[in-house]
């Protein structure tokens, strides 16, 4: 059986330098966005999803675990942050903290349950768990059911940054995205990340070498869920609402699609994929359900002909790791 990702290229100092150059380029480009007149709301939304896809990619690309329920972290963190901000009236930094803590707690519980099975079963279990959570949120009073939590106050981050100004909010979201991205990048290049990759390649062998693979997988799951939650908390400030769509399985599918389009197991793929898919939804918003059909077609086309994704193909062409 061939693995999902084919980055057999070793991580060399050369590769890491390339990646840091691309990262710096990406940071500068994104930092210049407010000067160009591009609609900042679109880019902020894309950044939140990019971080979410990067967190998802940590599990599938480096741990070989395909989670079909990552929307539950997005939604849970969103609901926790939104409730804290609106009902308790806390400051933005506390609101983010509450959301991230909620997602982290959820990832501990769901991770403990879902890593008991591998491969295809893991995907089905995460999907079922997120559906369980969907029904709980549908009935729980604090989520306001179908209406969701609306009109969330944005407030002042650390008492100085006025988040209701789009440019300020943009740089805060960008800082959050870059911070989360670097954390994931550091993780996959750490000894922990190397063990994770070895589990993906051959779990039995990793066990025989003395690694407690379940603990590594659980830790990766918690890290991924928590960072996904952070993306969900940031998204609350951008969208100013928290609703059931964020917990629905279609959202989990979109996260998978973004990562697949960009390139599973590549460092920058999920970011590119998120921008492509969000842009597509933006431009095709008038076509109703055809957007779903197009997403389905992209899924099929990617799996059949384009398994490396955009960044994966570029990296393969230049024989570089990206």
């Amino acid at each position: 059986m061939s693995a999902l990702t084919d980055d057999t290229l070793p991580v060399t100092p050369q590769a890491m330098r390339d990646e840091m150059i691309v990262f710096a380029g990406m940071a500068v480009l994104l930092g210049l966005v407010p000067l160009t007149g591009i609609y900042p709301f679109f880019v902020m939304q894309a950044l939140c999803f990019a971080l979410l896809a990067c967190a998802f990619n940590l599990l599938i690309g480096y741990g070989g675990l395909l989670s079909f329920g990552h929307a539950m972290f997005l939604g849970t963190a969103g609901y926790c942050s939104a409730h804290a901000l609106k009902v308790w009236g806390v400051t933005p930094e506390i609101g983010i903290l509450v959301g991230v803590a909620g997602a982290a707690a959820l990832s501990v519980v769901t991770g403990f349950i879902s890593i008991r099975r591998q491969g295809i079963y893991f995907s089905m279990i995460t999907l079922a768990l997120s559906q369980l959570l969907y029904f709980i949120y549908l009935q729980a009073p604090f989520t306001h059911g179908e209406d969701g939590i609306q009109g969330i106050p944005q407030g002042y981050l650390f008492g100085i940054f006025n988040l209701s100004k789009p440019t300020v909010l943009y740089y805060v979201v960008l800082a959050g995205f870059l911070g989360g991205f670097l954390l994931i990048y550091r993780t996959i290049n750490s000894p922990f990340g190397e063990v994770l990759k070895s589990i993906r390649e051959n779990e039995q062998r990793a066990i025989s070498l003395g690694y407690k693979t379940d603990q590594y997988k659980l830790l990766a799951f918690i890290l991924s869920g928590t960072i996904a939650g952070f993306a969900g908390s940031l998204k609350v400030f951008v969208a100013q609402n928290a609703s059931l769509t964020d917990v629905h399985w279609t959202m989990s599918g979109e996260i998978v699609l973004m990562t697949l389009v960009g390139g599973l197991g590549t460092v920058f793929g999920p970011v590119v994929g998120a921008f492509v898919i969000i842009a597509m939804q933006q431009y095709l918003a008038g076509f109703g359900q055809w957007v779903t059909v197009i997403q389905g077609v992209i899924f099929v086309a990617c799996v059949l002909t384009f398994r490396r994704g955009i960044i994966g193909e570029i990296a393969h062409y230049f024989r570089r790791s990206l």
């Binding site: 395909l66 879902s114 295809i120 079922a128 369980l132 998978v256």
Partner: protein, 295 residues
């Protein structure tokens, strides 16, 4: 007590659908090593096929029970020949992603033309036997009133499930199939056309889903998203039961339907979630599933 029996019956009916769908998933997984995410969409196509047959050509329920599974089964076999077969040898997860994409396409197209609301499909009113008009009406069993159509769905599904079990476990064809699941290369060496067998197996699994769709049309109405949420519950059923045994899938399907029905009576708030909660409990106690082999 009336309400309890009524919920038990609803549970048995849902259990029939769980059993038919998880059976198909298990058969397909055995041969193709693919979890068919499109199963819910194909179940929906079965129901729509019955609807089209009735409203466009006037062909009624009884013929639809035969024609719809064949039509949808052929559609499935075309999918297998044109797409799924190219995934052989790749990671299992690609099959999940591909069939998820197929499900999005099929459901999206139907949603475009039919929206999200349900289309009615009448319970057949022929043939007239005794005092009954087809499967309409009901009979008084003394302790409860049994709508005939609902009783029919449970009995017929059970018969189909057992027939599938018999086909796979007790016939020569089934023996070949099980052998090809274990070791396709060796079975090919015996001169059996394994790729054709894989295609037919996918057609069989898909046909079972379409049959469940036809059965559910008069009860649940015909909706483009009727299979979308159902398939996630069926995944939980499959995780609980494991996919190693045909009989295991059938029993787990019916049992979970009944448990769900009982929950609707005793604690209705949890009726949506009880199957998922049971899945969590089973995973904590016996991670391999009740009948499953380790995957």
């Amino acid at each position: 007590m009336q309400a309890l029996y009524a919920q038990l019956l609803v549970g048995l009916i849902n259990g029939s659908f769980y059993a038919l769908l998880s059976l198909g998933l298990a058969v397909i997984f055995g041969m193709l090593n693919i979890i068919n995410f499109a199963h819910g969409a194909l179940y929906m196509m079965g129901a729509f096929c019955a609807y089209f047959l009735l409203h466009l050509t006037g062909i009624g329920y009884w013929w639809a029970l035969i024609i719809a599974p064949i039509v949808v089964g052929i559609f499935g076999m075309i999918l297998e020949r044109t797409m799924l077969q190219w995934l052989a040898g790749l990671d299992h997860l690609y099959g999940l992603l591909l069939t998820f994409g197929i499900a999005l396409i099929v459901q999206g197209v139907f949603q475009n033309y039919f929206g999200s609301s349900g289309l009615p499909y009448a319970i057949p009113d022929y043939p007239e036997v005794g005092g009954f008009r087809g499967l309409q009406g009901g009979m008084n069993l003394g302790f409860m009133f049994l709508p005939i159509y609902r009783g029919w769905v449970v009995v017929f599904s059970l018969v189909v499930c057992l027939a599938t079990w018999f086909l796979i476990e007790k016939t020569r064809l089934g023996a070949n199939l099980r052998a090809a699941t274990e070791n396709p290369t060796l079975v090919r060496a015996f001169g059996i056309n394994v790729p054709r067998m894989i295609t037919l197996t996918y057609g069989l699994g898909v046909g079972l889903a379409a049959l469940a769709g036809v059965l559910s049309a008069p009860i649940n109405q015909v909706r483009p998203l009727m299979g979308a949420d159902l398939i996630i519950v069926v995944f939980a059923v499959v995780v609980i039961g494991g996919m190693g045994s045909i009989m295991g899938s059938i029993i787990t399907g019916f049992a979970l339907g009944v448990i769900e029905g009982l929950t609707k009576y005793f604690y209705p708030e949890a009726s949506n979630t009880v199957v998922f909660v049971l899945m969590v409990l089973v995973l904590l106690v016996k991670p391999t599933g009740l009948t499953g082999r380790a995957a």
